[in-house]
Symmetry: D2
Amino acid sequence: MNKINKVVLAFSGGLDTSVILKWLQDVYQCEVVTFTADIGQGEEIEPARAKAQGFGIKEIYIEDLREEFVREYVFPMFRANTIYEGEYLLGTSIARPLIAKRQIEIAQETGADAVSHGATGKGNDQVRFELGYYALKPNIHVIAPWREWDLTSREKLLEYAKKHGIPIEMKQQTGSPYSMDANLLHISYEGRLLEDPAKEPEESMWRWTVAPEKAPDEPEYLDIEFERGDIVALNQERLSPAVVLAKLNQLGGKHGIGRLDLVENRYVGMKSRGCYETPGGTIMLRAHRAIESITLDREVAHLKDELMPRYAALIYSGYWWSPERKMLQTMIDESQLNVNGWVRVKLYKGNVVVVGRDSKTDSLFDPAVATFEDDRGAYNQADAAGFIKLNALRMRIAAQLRKSFKK
Amino acid sequence: MNKINKVVLAFSGGLDTSVILKWLQDVYQCEVVTFTADIGQGEEIEPARAKAQGFGIKEIYIEDLREEFVREYVFPMFRANTIYEGEYLLGTSIARPLIAKRQIEIAQETGADAVSHGATGKGNDQVRFELGYYALKPNIHVIAPWREWDLTSREKLLEYAKKHGIPIEMKQQTGSPYSMDANLLHISYEGRLLEDPAKEPEESMWRWTVAPEKAPDEPEYLDIEFERGDIVALNQERLSPAVVLAKLNQLGGKHGIGRLDLVENRYVGMKSRGCYETPGGTIMLRAHRAIESITLDREVAHLKDELMPRYAALIYSGYWWSPERKMLQTMIDESQLNVNGWVRVKLYKGNVVVVGRDSKTDSLFDPAVATFEDDRGAYNQADAAGFIKLNALRMRIAAQLRKSFKK
Amino acid sequence: MNKINKVVLAFSGGLDTSVILKWLQDVYQCEVVTFTADIGQGEEIEPARAKAQGFGIKEIYIEDLREEFVREYVFPMFRANTIYEGEYLLGTSIARPLIAKRQIEIAQETGADAVSHGATGKGNDQVRFELGYYALKPNIHVIAPWREWDLTSREKLLEYAKKHGIPIEMKQQTGSPYSMDANLLHISYEGRLLEDPAKEPEESMWRWTVAPEKAPDEPEYLDIEFERGDIVALNQERLSPAVVLAKLNQLGGKHGIGRLDLVENRYVGMKSRGCYETPGGTIMLRAHRAIESITLDREVAHLKDELMPRYAALIYSGYWWSPERKMLQTMIDESQLNVNGWVRVKLYKGNVVVVGRDSKTDSLFDPAVATFEDDRGAYNQADAAGFIKLNALRMRIAAQLRKSFKK
Amino acid sequence: MNKINKVVLAFSGGLDTSVILKWLQDVYQCEVVTFTADIGQGEEIEPARAKAQGFGIKEIYIEDLREEFVREYVFPMFRANTIYEGEYLLGTSIARPLIAKRQIEIAQETGADAVSHGATGKGNDQVRFELGYYALKPNIHVIAPWREWDLTSREKLLEYAKKHGIPIEMKQQTGSPYSMDANLLHISYEGRLLEDPAKEPEESMWRWTVAPEKAPDEPEYLDIEFERGDIVALNQERLSPAVVLAKLNQLGGKHGIGRLDLVENRYVGMKSRGCYETPGGTIMLRAHRAIESITLDREVAHLKDELMPRYAALIYSGYWWSPERKMLQTMIDESQLNVNGWVRVKLYKGNVVVVGRDSKTDSLFDPAVATFEDDRGAYNQADAAGFIKLNALRMRIAAQLRKSFKK
């Protein structure tokens, strides 16, 4: 084991990372810097300060990263209409690169030679954290306690906590029925009761959204304004990125929007069942496609669609900081320069229905050409004959040949 | 103008194709063979016989193609989770190749040297019909009346009808407020009142689905069984393809599922607003993704996702009978050999919620590996360290270099 | 026929475009502006002035566009290692967008309402010219004489020339045995003697390169320096883009490099046989791949390779000015920021052999990691076990399942 | 360390695998089955029998796999025109899956519970072997001595050999100046003298090809016949796959064809310099593209080209036995049904020049359409106007909009 002097720990203040903190102090005999961030997980972060102090920590970083999270990570990802495996909006995946980046910056500032996180050895998050660490600081030492220690069960963890005087809350005695993760984009549930993908999750699991059955009987209309592919205003009120997303979460949650129950393919090789609530993201995706539908060139849109699954897999698998993701991002961002305008959606019991879209400056919908009525020469129907003839030519030549040889 | 002896007309029996029939007889002075097919459009086809006879037609083809349509066209397309531009389920696009194929077969049988259709010169359907014709019979003569004649407005069309004694129903006097197309997969609405994409369509337009607001307050559960990627049973009852789709349409329609309002990019170059009802297809797509989620290899699934937009564009643009579509189909079909099992969905006011999926024979979901509990060695967490290290290596080398050069 | 006031003609000064010039004056009764450009075709352009004056032309544009051509078109294309259908370096395709752009600019300057070119109705060039025109000036009127007039054979063309006093050179009496096109990137041959792809072209056809058999018996070494993916120096001498390419053509031609004989797929639908000499381009491509091999990240390189065929097809088919080509270019250019360094090639009787490559600032080749000797810990071989294990996991789970079911 | 009973070793009979054999016996105390295959590496395999017997081995497999290698691995790969990173013909990569498969089959036959190979922990071959093992037999135990033992230098290896009485040849004392690998497709060189990619390799390194400078001064013509994309005859003589490749190697080697010197990206993350001789493969690739040029549909060819880099990366990275490689292969094979005909190439001092190609049954080259002369109506040039107009439409609408807004 290398000698470590100082390690920056992603510290939530909860039981698991408290045990890790203590374990790092004990096993590595090194100084620990704690880093606690508000990325919209919905829990107070300030209490983490006292907890860290309780372990004798001197360098404590507590930061509100919500705006940066949405502006620099969530919004760029949504510019690509990103969905993993046709369903998943990548709520967990997109938060990890930011945490990793801040840990590395703090390591630079504090002269730490290592970083540590609380992700297990079976999941994607360890990959997302560590690929970020290595890409940003190639010689950083990474400590992944769950892959190293012998606290392989909850019982052993609790025992360790008790032994070292780490306070255990009542609910932690039994353990949550799910493994959860939350940030401004989503909350996720995995494991335990969800491990049989044939069984429907319990209604009581969901936390951010009401069931569609419990949602209001009245639909609600919402106007969403985009600039360069990002939402800048809701119902004509300009809002900052994080406020946009918080507001959409509130509206989506109220109307039962954004629940998802799926089996996904982890980067480490197994299938896993996850449930997600992404109320605001679900509205954003729908609205973004709608504004693109009138402002984006056809071939640009199709090229984006073809590259999207790969872009999604890169984010899912932890390659946010890779050169190929950045290269794709350059192209995606370029495509958004004209994505300006507004979309109207109707929210009702789980449904996000697009009911209108327009752009004063960038609509490529040309009513003069598109009309089913007389277009007064905007489009010459005779052109279609040549268009079809030449597009068919290669197939005609082939069919002629096959006929000759009676294939 | 080439001398035409006999033409096979895709004949619905409605006003437009009746005018075309008469116009072909007059202008081309040729024999007309009528072909009328039931592909689930929801109208009786038998009355077309009397109408054709009224024009003195001797060779009249009237056929029920519903099973062939779903088995050979709809199901293969759904194996790829096909969606055009992120939204559209290609209901119109997928029916055209079948019509084109039958017209060509009938031309062979009847010794006709031409085929004709009622699609306009501005839309995608002319392309879909004609690419099919040419691919299947390279020297066929194609007559597209809307691109040739001078009946460029509804008024002129009605006048022509009156002049030639073609009966005009009351509603045809004014014209439908929408241009519609229907088959077992969907019904579509375009034009007229929809030509401003900023405006919500009128509730009265929708014909196949109730509004989610009017759908039952009780959700309904449905078990869907797949074999090789196709649905073979609903609620444990084995059904033929067309019956499956009809049943899903009925259930989806009842629960307000499958409405869509979008602006799409036509192959002929302009943007166009369309509204669609695809109740059964919407359920199928969701369920198919769910069964694939447990039976398909990750990389196979991702490759399918990356190729899907192109496959969708091929179908949308009329290339069903092209060699590249067939080549992709071979690959897609190969991928479905293991897609066997069942999915349970919950239908409720516009929502299709997947609540369970399993496969006795082909589930790649391995609970022993996936579990959040002790997996007794099924997965060695230590492997992840090496996995991450080598995946990070190229990025670390690059970061090291950039550090040296202070980039 | 619309009334045209003034048309900008791409005018080479040769027989064909002279006939077109006269025909435009006669048939359209309009003013003609001639535009003659030196893009490295190897013929004097100044004589075109007198010829145009002979037709009474008042607005005559004669321009040397060689530097712009290489800097803004050839180099950007080579950044992507662009090859069409595995073989063709797109020499003709890449020159058309520049001509089209200048014609449109001149139309703006001179107030012309039309443009005209000398490409036939069967080839790709008409598409390349006209897509450029329309993309840059949507309402421009395009006159394509070969698609309009009745001069459908060489005899008729010569007759028209004689009748209108257009001087015909001796060789033009019989017509060239090939249709040729040249610019600084290549010279092409099509048609006539080449129309049987089973037959080898005559040695006398080739103009820019000696046969490898006639090339020097001594190889020649050449050092090529790149900055941001473009060549900036040869043998340590900094040169402008056009001078680089001219020098490479001279060297390649001397050593018998860059001949190509292929059957290609035209955008208008038929296969066509073409022969090309691209001596400098052949060297550039090889050297560019070599400098990328040490400076480009693996996944960036692979992504470029996957998108290249589409990028090539866009250029081949005339979509240089399309938004999708520009979007891809943004990504390609971004990838070249680190493509700095030098490559040494050996030229010998048709061969371009890369014999060395290095980059002081951007080499990702890390000898400490790559070495077959003891690497003193730069790479931990044990990491490979975990890497393989997790990459294999999904296949192991599948194999386990298949074993259980004896598939 | 798990208890191993019996291990199947890929045994060349050379020093390295002899040491491994002994080491397995000593360290694992298990029975060893040796497997030695002739895949065209150009060394006798029968002597391996005596060597194995010298170690007391009872189960000795010695097999000639040359035909299977070319028929089932090399040919299928060439159907895709497969090249890794624009240059490398994958000679080493394509042989590993066959070795892996036979080892697993032998493990089944002999009841072995483990397999072992002699690849190091830094290269791609370990991955290729082991992904194959795991995909074919998920619970096989893999022993990779180079990742496990402490014989980390040549000195230690020789010492171990001496200590255990393993005979060491003179040349092995000093070690080869290169790490080499050979099979019927290629011979490769890596390491040692090649570790500086700025330096040209010594002429003495190359073993299979003469230098172009030393090749005959007379070119040689060769007729190559294809059926379904595979070569079946040379100069009108039908030959088996392995004989085809051997003959092409002999011809290519004689004419100095197929040398390659490149820096490639290994799957394990670093760049590596390799030199390769692939004389027969270089001819095959060129000829295969030529036969496809007249028999393959344009869009099929383009789709193959777009997917090729990924297919190549799969093979390079060891995923031959993966479901995604098989899925792509299905599509590739399907595309080859019409790839029948012949190609004539001219071999001369490093050059493979295609000089003719034809197909009696499947040529899509239609001289009537392609001709530059009067085509008597086979192609209607007027069609091109409509073709261009509709392809330009979306760009015209966009340009019109930009003009309105003076963008």
